[in-house]
């Protein structure tokens, strides 16, 4: 018997995220859900459409110096700097838990070169430690903010995106998603580059670059000076980018950015996302992803919508 009869009964919740079958469109945003185990005490994490892991790198990383977090109006800035256990510890200690539970896994990876991404993706596939790969080409927190010129992220350069995507594509048969930065003039360019590179989906958006200064000490509030802005504050920006990208892409989108409630998730679906990930809201409400999922079900019932897929891109203009 399936662990949760209610969810599997609702076949109308299923979506196909670029070849990854998800029993419902709700996943979690990388870096806001650890490796899943942290939240299994608040709800059965296998009820999620997928668990997305913290970005994994080849070597264990200590990340940036503290302080790494600062709260901002309806959001927060983080400069974690990709602290993570490294791929090998993930394979030996984290993935087995997720597999034992029966979770669908989106393995988020971060490297310093196409080769590193290739190796990360290969290891995940070899060890069956992920059901899809999400390559984070957009982390704002791994550069030295003090250098005069703003750090250039891979995902700010369409040519680089194509190069990285092609490399990872050739290394894995798993569904491949590329996660992009909102810090661009026009999101359609990097999104189309992802498609051209052969990926199966795009994840929009990573955090917006931001900073905060403490007037008392006259120092930045983050030791890294600059961080990534997330939370409800950025939701309107994320919805717009999903809508922009959806109009030109033929591959599906995971929508992310300030999703707090089912209504927020539905906004992203209507804008054109196929799946959604709940991020910072989990910090405020550890069972937020479940509340979003339950709320989507209620919405479908109330509006007599048979299949959640009918909502994808269904905004009426």
């Amino acid at each position: 018997m399936p662990r949760d009869a209610t969810d599997t009964d609702d076949m109308n919740l299923a979506v196909n995220m670029g070849g990854l079958p998800m029993k419902n469109p709700v996943t979690v945003a990388s870096g806001t859900f650890g490796y899943g185990q942290e939240y299994n005490q608040y709800f059965d994490i296998t009820r999620l459409g997928a668990v997305t892991t913290k970005s994994l790198s080849l070597k264990v990383r200590a990340g940036n110096k503290p302080p790494r977090l600062v709260e901002t109006p309806a959001g927060l800035l983080n400069a974690i700097g990709l602290q993570n256990v490294g791929i090998e510890t993930y394979l030996s200690e984290k993935a087995p838990f997720l597999r034992k539970q029966g979770a669908t896994i989106i393995g988020n990876i971060y490297g310093h070169s196409p080769d590193e991404y290739v190796e990360l993706a290969s290891r995940l596939e070899q060890e069956s430690a992920a059901d899809a790969i999400e390559a984070n080409l957009s982390c704002p927190n791994v550069h030295d903010a003090k250098t005069a010129s703003g750090a250039v992220l891979v995902s700010q350069d369409p040519d680089a995106i194509i190069e990285y995507t092609k490399a990872i594509r050739s290394a894995t048969t798993l569904p491949l998603f590329i996660k992009l930065s909102p810090n661009v003039a026009d999101i359609q360019e990097p999104a189309l580059a992802v498609q051209e590179g052969g990926a199966d989906g795009v994840c929009l958006i990573n955090t917006l670059l931001g900073m905060s200064i403490n007037p008392k000490t006259r120092r930045p509030r983050l030791s890294n000076i600059v961080g990534g802005l997330s939370g409800p504050a950025i939701r309107p920006v994320a919805v717009k980018m999903v809508w922009d990208a959806a109009r030109v892409l033929s591959i599906p989108i995971i929508g992310t950015g300030g999703i707090c409630t089912a209504n927020d998730a539905i906004e992203f679906l209507l804008a054109g996302a196929t799946a959604v990930s709940v991020g910072s809201m989990t910090f405020r409400q550890p069972d937020a992803p479940m509340q979003v999922l339950d709320g989507i079900k209620t919405y479908l019932k109330q509006h007599r919508i048979e299949r959640v897929e009918e909502l994808i891109g269904a905004m009426e203009v």
């Binding site: 806001t32 110096k65 405020r284």
Partner: protein, 275 residues
């Protein structure tokens, strides 16, 4: 028995009382049966301060006292979040998650002498610790230090438990005019002594230095900006003394908040950023 980690709960707790006990210092009494049943001294909870999404993040608060069905929180109005807490009338319910983190080891009988050193609102977690220690026959000595007389809290509580209490203020308005670390040194802790420190970062550092200099054991209860409280966001870290990349950071929320001071790389810690 170390204090955690065990079962954690996300509960809507009724505020039973919420009173200003000293200027800008409040005590909130919460009905929280499942949390209270699991909570250990030094552990904490994450509290929602506002039903709307501002402030967005919850506030970490340790347990002052732990009762059968209830806990109390002793808190200082620092900014918007704690001001909202102070404005919460009895009868209202607030979302509380806990107990979280690793609290004090109250069962370790390796030490003959126990000295609690509280700086300002850092006293907040010590009533439950002192009660747990006295419950097994260990009567801690207590140093309560603060800037000013009215910031000295819980003095009577500790005295009623039978503790010897040393009060110090920066301005001499109550007790002696001294810093916590100096009072500690005067009490001559030794290798048979465990020191428990909580307060502003600078006070914990100096107290820890004094304890170590005297050859004592010292645990500190750290503060950090937190987002999740659950070990997931990696936001609340402090630098540890471990060399290995994977151990270079410890998370205040799940590896602490109580740490043996030797695990903390105090030199790396930039006090200019202190919350």
């Amino acid at each position: 028995m170390t204090g955690g980690p065990g079962a954690r709960f996300l509960s809507d707790c009724e505020v039973l009382a919420n009173d200003e006990v000293a200027p800008e210092q409040w005590r909130m009494r919460l009905r929280a049966p499942s949390i209270a049943a699991e909570a250990k001294p030094g552990q904490f909870c994450m509290m929602l301060t506002n039903p709307t999404q501002y402030p967005f993040l919850r506030r970490p608060m340790c347990f002052e006292q732990i009762f059968d069905q209830e806990v109390t929180i002793l808190y200082k109005v620092e900014g918007e979040g704690t001001a909202l807490m102070a404005g919460t009338p009895p009868g209202q319910r607030i979302q509380v998650q806990g107990p979280l983190g690793i609290g004090f080891d109250t069962d370790d009988d390796a030490f003959a002498r126990h000295i609690i050193v509280a700086g300002g609102i850092g006293v907040a977690s010590f009533p439950s610790l002192a009660k747990a220690l006295t419950a097994r026959g260990v009567i801690p000595e207590v140093i309560i230090a603060a800037r000013h007389a009215h910031l000295i809290l819980c003095e009577d509580f500790f005295r009623e438990l039978g503790c010897e209490v040393h009060v110090a203020t920066d301005d001499g308005s109550l007790g002696e005019q001294a810093f916590a670390c100096d009072v500690l040194t005067r009490l001559k802790p030794d290798s048979d002594t465990r020191v428990y420190a909580c307060g502003p970062m600078i006070m914990m550092k100096t107290t820890s230095d004094a304890a170590i200099a005297a050859g004592a054991n010292c645990v500190v209860s750290l503060e950090a900006q937190m987002a999740c409280g659950d070990g997931a966001c990696l936001g609340c870290v402090v630098e540890s003394t471990e060399e290995a990349e994977g151990e270079a950071m410890v998370r205040v929320c799940v590896d602490g908040p109580v740490f043996d001071t030797t695990r903390i790389d105090w030199a790396a810690h930039n006090l200019a950023y202190a919350p």
